[in-house]
Symmetry: C2
Subunit: 204 residues, 2 copies
């Protein structure tokens, strides 16, 4: 029960360690075919240890989702901070989107997997809703900064902006994973085209 010892950090460190193994495995196999034994075998522990640090398979998964969120949430903040012109922001943002597909494709497909699972499994719904909102906020910070640099107000809701960009992103991810050659370049072009639409048109 109260498993923590003097260094409570160690307990959390182990949980994070297991979460990382779990995320690696989940990103490789997907939610459906990932077993606790597989997760453990991708770590340096045996399969029984999972129930020492997590009550449940579900608790581990949800912990992973939140742990994963902590990494992504600031992904584009540097782009926001560094940009000094509207065009530069759009360029850097589009490039970063393509880059993260190239470098972290397993993580992204895992996210879409979990989000889709939440359409079936109520127990995932809260965690997914929370992280989805966080991603929407992240996108909205980009759009807000873009509006600011352009001197024009945003014309779309945060939901709409997120939905549109997410649709393009997911399509590019799928294309990239199926080996379609120009998938990433198409994404950057599509994003560059889309961004002005998110703001009010220039005054007539």
């Amino acid at each position: 029960m109260a498993a923590r010892q003097a260094p409570a950090d160690k307990y959390d460190a182990r949980r994070n360690q297991l979460a990382e193994s779990a995320l690696r495995t989940l990103g490789e196999l997907g939610y459906a075919r990932t077993s606790l034994r597989e997760i453990a075998s991708n770590s340096e522990f045996s399969h029984g240890v999972v129930h020492y640090y997590f009550d449940d398979k579900l608790e581990l998964i949800i912990y992973c989702v939140r742990y994963y969120k902590a990494r992504c949430v600031t992904r584009y903040d540097e782009v926001i901070a560094r940009s000094t012109s509207a065009d530069g922001l759009v360029q850097a943002f589009a490039a970063k989107l393509a880059e993260t597909i190239r470098d972290e494709a397993p993580m992204h497909r895992l996210w879409y997997d979990l989000r889709t699972q939440s359409m079936f499994e109520d127990s995932l719904r809260d965690a997914v809703t929370m992280i989805d909102k966080t991603l929407q906020d992240m996108i909205w910070r980009v759009v807000s900064r873009y509006a600011q640099l352009s001197g024009r107000p945003a014309a779309r809701s945060p939901q709409a902006a997120y939905g549109l960009l997410d649709g393009l992103f997911q399509q590019a991810l799928l294309g990239h994973l199926t080996g379609r050659p120009g998938a990433l370049d198409e994404l950057t072009a599509q994003v560059r085209d889309l961004m002005p639409y998110l703001l009010e048109p220039v005054a007539a």
Copy 2:
């Protein structure tokens, strides 16, 4: 092996009958937790019959995907045929999108589930890619007709148009399933806003 009898139709009819049971079950439970026994128990047959009509679980699933496609492909063609003005088309199209979420949510979440699974499982990839292309064509017929009625050419690629609309659609589906009240109305508003962006701006 050569299981067909004189009326070869009956063999196909049984396959379709099983496909319908499978789609009902898959739409309810999702790909991960749907077993052949569950599919069979949602039909009037026993669990062994599946292997009489399908070699494999995977063959059944893929057959289902293609069977499902046949229904969706013409979903908006009536909207296209009936519309006589650009605004009327947009209105009817947006309403139809919302309607299909309300009436066929399990089928849609199943589609997203299978599409996501194809990011992990190579064996699903071909079937998913084919139906995704079919859906893109379906959307593109709407956009083309919209361009025609507007007297302006389309400004976005078929991929981009499909990706954008699909993003909004998926977000609305998720919102609808999680019980967010205005999810469907937001979708129709977002689609009405988006459609003009898919065409070239009015001449300056």
